[in-house]
């Protein structure tokens, strides 16, 4: 299907549920929606017989400084097309519906996004930190993240060996 026709088809089928549908680099289509319609839009893309976006390629989060965002990349072997669905979230209370009921493999992706951005996925069966320790503070991939100086009493910085005090000791 031609990209132009495909975009028209999406706009038709998802009218009222999406904010914008735009062409994206690499033969991709960017669908922007809001957090209320996010899971619904993905479900339609997956289950509608004229789309069949049944393959999840990637899920990630991003911090656009004023807002946070969640995006999923879907692929349809039927149409041989890719789409990116993105939803912007408030910084204060980032919450969005989990996609685990639709794609079982998204479980860890959502946990990683929670781990790195602090975005909570409602209805996720096991929303815990994935890569970082459970007692880690803060969400590292946010743009306003401040590097901790120590973790459980261990220094995280490295001493500058050229910067020594009067006694010849280097400090972190």
């Amino acid at each position: 299907m031609e990209l132009h026709n495909f975009i028209t088809l999406i706009q038709e089928r998802l009218a009222g549920k999406v904010l914008s549908v735009a062409e994206m680099k690499n033969d991709d289509v960017m669908i922007t929606t809001d957090r209320e319609h996010f899971a619904e839009v993905v479900a339609i893309l997956k289950n509608n017989s004229s789309f069949r976006f049944s393959t999840l390629m990637n899920q990630s989060g991003a911090d656009y400084t004023d807002t946070l965002a969640v995006m999923v990349n879907l692929y349809s072997g039927f149409l041989r097309r890719k789409v990116t669905v993105k939803a912007f979230l408030q910084r204060e209370n980032p919450e969005i519906d989990s996609l685990v009921p639709l794609f079982r493999g998204i479980d860890w992706y959502e946990r990683e996004t929670f781990d790195m951005f602090g975005i909570r996925f409602l209805g996720h069966p096991n929303l815990k930190r994935l890569l970082l320790p459970d007692d880690w503070e803060g969400y590292p991939l946010r743009k306003d993240y401040v590097y901790p100086h120590s973790y459980n009493g261990m220094e995280t910085g490295r001493a500058d060996l050229l910067d020594v005090d009067a006694a010849g000791e280097a400090h972190v």
Binding site: M24, K25, N26, D28, M30, S54, T55, L56, M57, N58, S60, A62, D63, M71, N73, G77, R80, K82, T84, F103, R104, G105, I106, D107, W108, M116, L130, L131, L132, P133, P140, L141
Partner: protein, 374 residues
């Protein structure tokens, strides 16, 4: 406790276990020799590569992509370079594209040697691993000739490759792939692939149907092992892969049921032969001389925008989601790796298998720890 009662026991496997392929931990719930559940615990090798990317110029991130999957570093270089080129509309000289394909396919061969070699090692067959490593040593020599490094190659650049192939590289490369395709693979199969003990250890173990594999976002050889006919090099060609003639091997249930560990093992063996075909054809079609790198403007900036580009790495789909704000540095880099997806399915398929079979399942999924954690 009565004579026949069963008792569940929680067993810790890893983080430093010889058969977990790096630093991964599994929490096993066992009932005697049977496993109730194996829960992976990851993050021991998390280096925050995605955060590092936001603090470096676009080109300077290239050496870090080596460390995403150090067993097949050229494929990671290539994935990142292709993503940036698609976002910034950079064209790559013809000769550089062929050099990339040759290096990437050599890397795939080298990676599969570790992949099935380590699987066999985990199952207790030490000798075949040494044979596979002997051939990987020749691959290391070839890569050293091409780019000077033996493990983290850092060969691909945005807009081209780092160096041209030296004199004598093509001949050496050709003799290597001829040796592999016509001598080594047959010898290796006779030695181990058709061995009854190996077949009994792998066949019907860890069966994944194509639908389940898709549901758990498996990709690459793991997906093809379940019988799915999908290869990004053929179905969504990047670089110059559309100019080559090769088959896409897939699982057939050779000695057991479709999608078992043996199918995944066999797909990797077959892929080595196909990579040999691609390399031979690339060496033949490669322009004899020419530019190897596009000159990038200084300072190099990428127009604002977003892109998701996926390439076929030895461990499955390697995707880069790039966000640029028009600056000298990436705004956000998300790396989607094959091993990360492969780990998510272990909890599902490890229910009710023997503890010894878990080792076969992990090995047949060919996970590499740094690629899971990034």
């Amino acid at each position: 406790m009565s004579k026949y009662s069963s008792q569940e026991m929680v067993l810790n496997m890893g983080p430093h276990h010889p058969s977990t392929h790096g630093v991964i931990r599994f929490i096993l719930q066992t009932d005697g020799e049977m496993m109730v559940k194996a829960t992976p615990d990851i993050g021991f090798l998390h280096r925050g590569i995605e955060k590092i990317a936001e603090r470096l110029p676009w080109q300077a991130f290239m050496p870090y992509t080596d460390r995403v999957d150090y067993v097949a570093s050229v494929n990671c270089n290539l994935g990142y370079a292709v993503a940036v080129e698609r976002l910034a509309d950079i064209t790559v000289p013809e000769r550089a594209e062929y050099l990339r394909v040759i290096a990437a396919e050599l890397s795939r061969i080298g990676s599969h040697f570790i992949g099935f070699g380590a699987l066999l090692l985990d199952l207790g067959a030490v000798t075949p691993f040494v044979h596979a490593l002997r051939e990987r040593e020749r691959y290391n020599d070839l890569m050293e000739m091409l780019c000077g490094a033996r493990l983290t190659h850092n060969y691909v650049r945005i807009g081209g490759v780092a160096q041209d192939a030296p004199d004598g590289f093509a001949e050496k490369c050709l003799s290597f792939v001829d040796h592999l395709e016509y001598e080594f693979i047959g010898e290796f199969n006779n030695m181990i692939s058709f061995n009854t003990i190996l077949i009994n250890r792998l066949a019907n173990v860890g069966v994944i149907s194509a639908a389940t594999a898709n549901d758990f976002t498996l990709s690459g050889p793991n997906l093809r092992g379940s019988g799915a006919d999908f290869d990004l090099r053929r179905d969504e060609p990047y670089s110059v892969y559309n100019r080559f003639n090769f088959d896409v091997p897939k699982g057939t249930g050779k000695f057991g049921s479709l999608g078992d560990s043996y199918d995944r093992y066999w797909v990797r063996i077959e892929e080595v032969t196909q990579s040999c075909r691609i390399i031979r054809e690339a060496l033949r079609k490669m322009p004899k001389s020419g530019d190897i790198r596009t000159r990038l403007p200084k300072p190099f900036t990428v127009p604002a925008g977003e892109v998701y580009v996926r390439t076929e790495a030895p461990r499955g789909e390697l995707g880069f989601y790039l966000v640029s704000d028009g600056g000298k540095q990436p705004f956000r880099v998300k790396i989607r790796t094959g091993s990360f997806s492969a780990m998510t399915i272990i909890e599902h398929i490890s229910q009710g298998v023997m503890v010894a079979d878990l080792v076969a399942i992990i090995g047949s999924l060919d996970v590499v720890a740094p690629e899971i954690d990034r």
